[in-house]
């Protein structure tokens, strides 16, 4: 070959190569844009605020206060008043009280619960970057969210308060700091926590809620926690513990704010668009076309949105007295369904003032007190609204109050927990299932048992 051309070609080759090589400097440094790097987060007050919103988002997860775990409560404690006719096998397993550690319900409630807890914990550790004026409210809200999730978890995964020794009955691991591995990348053996006792978890819930009630503002929009919200949750926790005085007082504090009143009709309690809804509701999870899923609508209702999986049987309807509006609060779509959750995009009322009246009534009755009102007054408020005749004082007894509570709050997620705390044994099909049956406690998820060797499984799984 011609040597001159050869030289030219050699030069060209070298030039191309060096251009290619030199262009390669920082080509491998690519930053995420859809998400942001953890190191770019939490540098300013705004990040704390949006972190708190994210914690509420965690709480509103469909498994937690998006309503699905309330379905579990109703199904697990069902005594042939519901027939589960859906295709989700894991829901059928809950209804038949035949859960297995692989259960989707047990797995997802655990995982989404701790996701929300970690979000709240994260906010709690960086709260000092907020202006002082804002800190109390944000801390109170994060504590409230954490307590709310732990209360759901302890009731499903642990034995009921007082069923055996609270100090030794395992519940769930108590985690109060954000996961350090989020910054370090190192998941240490310490992350494999053992299960704390039922007593420890309840104690923490109380600590958090008491502090929250103190720190929170007196009022807020109904999708954010305030003092009354914390008190409402406290009343539930105390009631679950059989601490009737504290439950009564907490419920009374909510009522005493005067900001909540019973909706004029039962229907208004469940229709966001009706005027009575906002007065009745102490706290609600927002559901819109843009965000959130109302799992109560999904499982209990029909088209649009509902799968009509939860057929309500005659046995349940027969519990209502003649003339009770609630006894007619059903509709038929090939099968009988409750009318409570017909709004596909309806907000989910987490606490209704009716519950506070019923809690106060029950506690006052048990303690033979009349804090705020007499038990009879409170029960009759509830009865009057649904066009039932008021009870005579002679007819008032604990069973009457508990029955009123059961019918008023049916399909709102209280059934299992009320059965356990009142030590009511269940009769399901032809079997007697004691309130303390291991079948009424969720298994620790198999994936969690596999991932964390320090966990122990619940009996029966």
């Amino acid at each position: 070959m011609n040597t001159q051309f050869t030289k030219l070609r050699l030069f060209l080759g070298a030039a191309v190569t060096s251009v290619v090589m030199s262009a390669c400097g920082n080509l491998l440094n690519v930053e995420p844009v859809t998400q942001i790097d953890v190191n770019a987060d939490f540098r300013e007050p705004l990040a704390v605020r949006v972190g708190l919103t994210g914690a509420y988002d965690g709480l509103s997860n469909r498994l937690i206060w998006g309503g699905e775990s309330w379905c579990y409560s109703e199904l697990l404690a069902d005594e042939n008043e519901i027939r589960f006719r859906g295709t989700f096998q894991y829901m059928g397993d809950v209804w038949r009280k035949t859960m297995v550690p692989l259960s989707f319900a047990a797995t997802e409630l655990w995982l989404t619960g701790y996701d929300a807890i970690n979000r709240a914990n994260r906010v709690l550790t960086v709260i000092d970057s907020l202006p002082a004026s804002e800190r109390n409210s944000v801390r109170g809200q994060a504590l409230f969210i954490r307590a709310a999730v732990y209360f759901e978890l302890v009731r499903f995964y642990g034995k009921a308060w007082g069923d055996g020794d609270n100090a030794t009955n395992p519940a769930v691991p108590l985690i109060l700091t954000p996961t350090s591995a989020f910054l370090s990348g190192v998941v240490t053996p310490e992350e494999s926590r053992r299960r704390n006792s039922v007593a420890e978890v309840y104690a923490q819930i109380l600590t958090d809620l008491r502090q929250a009630e103190e720190l929170l503002p007196a009022s807020s929009i109904a999708t954010r926690a305030n003092k009354a919200t914390a008190a409402a949750l406290l009343s539930r926790v105390h009631l679950m513990q059989g601490d009737f005085a504290n439950a009564r007082d907490a419920a009374n504090r909510v009522i005493a704010t005067g900001r909540y009143r019973l909706a004029p009709t039962f229907e208004e309690c469940f229709r966001e668009a009706l005027p009575g809804f906002s007065g009745e509701t102490i706290f609600r999870i927002p559901i819109t076309e843009q965000d959130g899923v109302n799992q109560l609508n999904v499982f209990y209702s029909a088209t649009p949105g509902g799968r009509r999986d939860m057929e309500i049987l005659a046995k349940h309807v027969n519990l209502y007295e003649r003339g009770d509006d609630r006894g007619a609060f059903f509709f038929t779509s090939g099968r009988r369904l409750t009318s409570k959750w017909r709004d596909q995009f309806g907000d989910i009322p987490v606490f209704r003032i009716a519950e506070m009246f019923l809690t106060r009534a029950e506690c006052n009755f048990r303690l033979n007190t009349s804090v705020g009102a007499t038990p009879l007054e409170d029960v009759n408020r509830i009865r009057t609204r649904v066009k039932l005749p008021p009870l005579e004082a002679s007819a008032l007894n604990l069973n009457a109050i508990l029955k009123e509570r059961r019918l008023e709050l049916a399909f709102e997620g209280h059934l299992l927990h009320d059965a356990k705390r009142t030590r009511r044994n269940l009769v399901y099909s032809d079997q007697m299932i004691p309130f303390s049956s291991p079948r009424l406690v969720f298994p620790v998820p198999q994936r969690e048992m596999d991932a964390n060797k320090n966990l122990t499984q619940n009996p029966g799984y």
Binding site: R9, L10, L12, V20, C24, L27, L28, V30, P32, V33, T34, Q35, I36, D37, V38, D41, V50, G51, L52, T53, G54, D57, R83, F84, R85, T87, Q89, T98, S103, F104, T107, Y114, D115, N118, V172, P173, P178, T179, A181, F182, S184, G185, V187, R193, P286, E289, Q290, D291, T303, P304, E311, K315, G334, R335, S429, D430, R447, E448, A451, Y461
Partner: protein
Amino acid sequence: MNKSLRLLPRLAVRGSLVLAATVASLNPTLRAQVQTGIAESSAAIAPAPMIATGVMQPSASATLELVQTAQVSGTVKDEDGNALRGVVIKVKGSNKGAVTDRDGKYSLVGLSDGDVLVFSLIGYTKKEIPVAGQSVINVVLPLDVQKLNDVVVVGYGSQIKREVTGSMVKVKAAEIVDVPVPSFDVAMQGKAAGVVVTQGSGKLGQGISVRVRGAASVSAGQDPLYVLDGVPLTASFGDFGGNVGRSLNPLSDINPQDIESIDVLKDAASASIYGSRGANGVVLITTKKGKAGKTNINFSVQRGFSSPSKFLQFANTPQALEYFRRAAGASDRIDGIDPKDPDSYTSALEAYFQEQSLGLYDPSKPNDLSKVPNTDWAAAVLRNDAPSTQVDLSMSGGNEKTLFHLSGQYMEQEGIVIGNKLNRLSGRLNVEHRVSDAFKIGLNFSLARTNNNRLPGDNAFSSPLQAVALPPVSPLNDPVTGLPIGTPPGDPNIPVYYNPIIGVNNSYRNFVVLRNLGNVFGELAITEGLTLRGQFGFDVATQNEDQWFGAKTVRNSGLPLGGTTNLSQTVENFSGSAFFNYNRTFDAVALDAIAGTEYQQSRTKTTQFSAQDLPSDGFRLAAAAAKPTTIDSRQTDFTFLSYFARANVKIADKYLLNLNARVDGSSRFGANNRYGFFPAASAGWIITGEDFLKDDEVVSFLKLRASYGLTGNAEIGNFQSRGLVSGVAVYDAQPGTRPLQLPNPNLTWETTTQAEVGIDYGFLNNRISGELNVYLKNSTGLLLDVDIPGSTGFRRQTRNLGSMRNQGIEFTLNTDNVNVENFSWKTSLNVALNDNRVIDLAGQILNAGLGNLPSRAVAGQPIGVFYTPEYAGVNQENGNAEWFKNTLLPDGSRDRTRTSRYSEAQPIYAASPLPVWTGGVTNTFNIYGFDLTFQFNAVMGNRINFYGVGQYSFAGARFEDNVTVDQLNTWSPTNKTATLPETRYLIENGSQASSRFLLDGSFVRLRVATLGYNIPKQVFADAGLPITNLRLYVTALNLLTFTNYGGWDPEVNSDDFTGAGGNSVSANAAVGQGIDFYTAPQPRTIMFGINVGF
């Protein structure tokens, strides 16, 4: 001419060494020409071929020795009549020889009548012709179908197959040309040993799975790297949302008719040149190029029909009524309820039938079925006559300076499931231009528009195949409205599940993909043997999905006024490479070396909006929608920067050595581990090059080879090493953030070490040939989505952890059974055994697939092993389903007592979804103008998880789904010998997850059968027509299937629940597999075609 059938080769023939010597000595330019099929082109393109062996001196250009006086001359042509240049003519048993010139002419002197001339050229069948007094011998050399002489494409170059020391397999254009499939990967099924292609679903254009030598990873990708004309392709369009199951197959934008060859690199020695992306194998696709000379025009039309390859029979109305009544009675008995109680199961069931039949069933007249519908839902959603049409036009040709190939295709297929349609319009232009002797430039460019009217994912009620679950008592159409049952204004809550037929006319999911694939390149010859090639490649895909849900789909969409969604995704994938190639022969040593660099960057941008509440069903776009619901945009990027080098050394045409290495850096890897090094070495010994075998009459070719090396797998998410905070945490219309992902700055590729020993053999003049490979593939540092304690608030962290092993044997055998004039019969067989085992996961157990019957990755088991209690059968006394307890006893054995309490049964590793062996056999016959091809493929020894369907339709009346007819004969107090458990309405009795639902998925399938007829060329010549060939053919896909599988189709992998994209409980890509979930069966397609060449 001997017209008797010669079933055995002529043992007297010898001389394959001539061919070997020739191939070995071809200079690189010619070798490249052989590869591209332009060896016969004019001499201006390349220097004259130089023959450099000890036998024939390079100086001899045409005639070698002039000793005797008898002279023979002639012309050598190919079957198309083109002159063949460079054909070596050797006089048998002597050193005499010649080479044809650019016109295919040769001459030889000094011959005697008894001499035999051997004509040979790489890629063509050798011919021996006795001189026998002739002075002119014109020869036509047919193309050689024997694999040994193929040129195979390797990373950044090509090699002669016989010199290859690694392990690779080639699929040629001719093998896939008539197969009526939308993408070439489907056509590879059963063709290549060790390459398992699973289509998974009969839906059109969906992503399919290709596994080269088993799954080498757990959480990272398992698909091979696809490289089209040197450009790494976008491997996946990722999750695109929209509830359509698996993402589209990115390979279906490539027109299979444009493909010249597909080369699959299987072992480390061949794949390590692709470094961190080679561990799953590499598929190199080469498109067609023009040939100098006459411009060839080819036109073809195919038309045909598809039907399901298998139907599953469901109960009719009398059967279903009887079955469910039996079930309701059993449930009432068990729960102690009086059947007359309004809450009884029997009451509920009677009301249910009445409701589901729209009142046509009257519970007061339970035996009067005269008005009760008897609907065959499967027949209503599956089509027997789905038409397909494909039209192709291509043109190729060129001269000594410029070569071109131009093609266009339009194809449309309708699916066997109603509502499924695909059409594609594509075009390609490949041009190559020689600027000067030293400089060549080229362009490969294609555009494709693929329009896919898709179906919902398998798991959706709106997926048409789920209609089989509907009760036969429900009429197809509501007698009041005349519309499909469940269409408003009829009650949308009937039938029991959403009627997917409503969706066919009242909703759509239309995907349009615009894909621009191609590259520009330049090649510069610098000095003798040294060239520099630079290439810029692009793969730009725009995917646009329009979804509309009319008001009548309210039950499915939840939108009483309808809704609309648009998703748009752009994937820009650019790459550039530059490398030197040095190719020289020094006496007995030939060196072929490359060194270069490559850069790739990819950006995916996705935008989506959804809106609801449209004024009427006539409005289908968001312009008219009252409420926006979703607005979303995302972006993700990755880059790779690589350096690579390779050297192939060949000594004395016998000893082969290959060394190669790549350094790969990627943005995907953690800050602490950015670059990886992937070396490999292989060696080969052509034993037939040794004297003791040189002239063997039986063994015509024998090569022993071994390879060892490292490859990597980098197919993880783009930012998997980063701690990420997500903004998808809106609450009450306020912006929020949440922790999304734990960081892992040490994250890096996973490493696969692969060792292989193989033999390439050819017997009886290569009429029997093939190869045998044994390999051991160890993957370590697996990119694992490790389950971490969920109490951290995180589910998984991607880590390099654990190891997995694949070991196997591959065997191929190609035989030329009969080869006489006007009749030939060839057989090609491949068998592969692969044993996959997870060796170590550091105690981790990964779950995927279906929640209650998970697929697992766990040490000591094959990946994806099904973990579930072992079904024991029915208790003949009480009809209860029973399982073996299988609890571990103190002595290490398992408790084999049976229990009817499901929770007492310990789950076990019940079965593997992986086949024990796979294989294929192809027989090709040519008889006069007819050609006939049968290709069978087999998958043996795998189990399929049918629980997804089975729990509903296969195991009692726990759910209200209709049941298959093979499940009707259940135990009852009056039928105690039945082998199926008692059916109980809404009560589980055997429908719980268990090994009962793990069905044998083995099958043998007549994949392709083709019968063609080539009208003799003489007919056109006589008629004066410019037609060079005219072929008529009929081809059938999936004509016969032999299987015991109890579901629809054993070739199944549900688009939901499997892989990374579906509804799986875990993101672990390889773990969930072999799951049937109302998955559409494969189509049986029959196509008629005509192919005309001018």
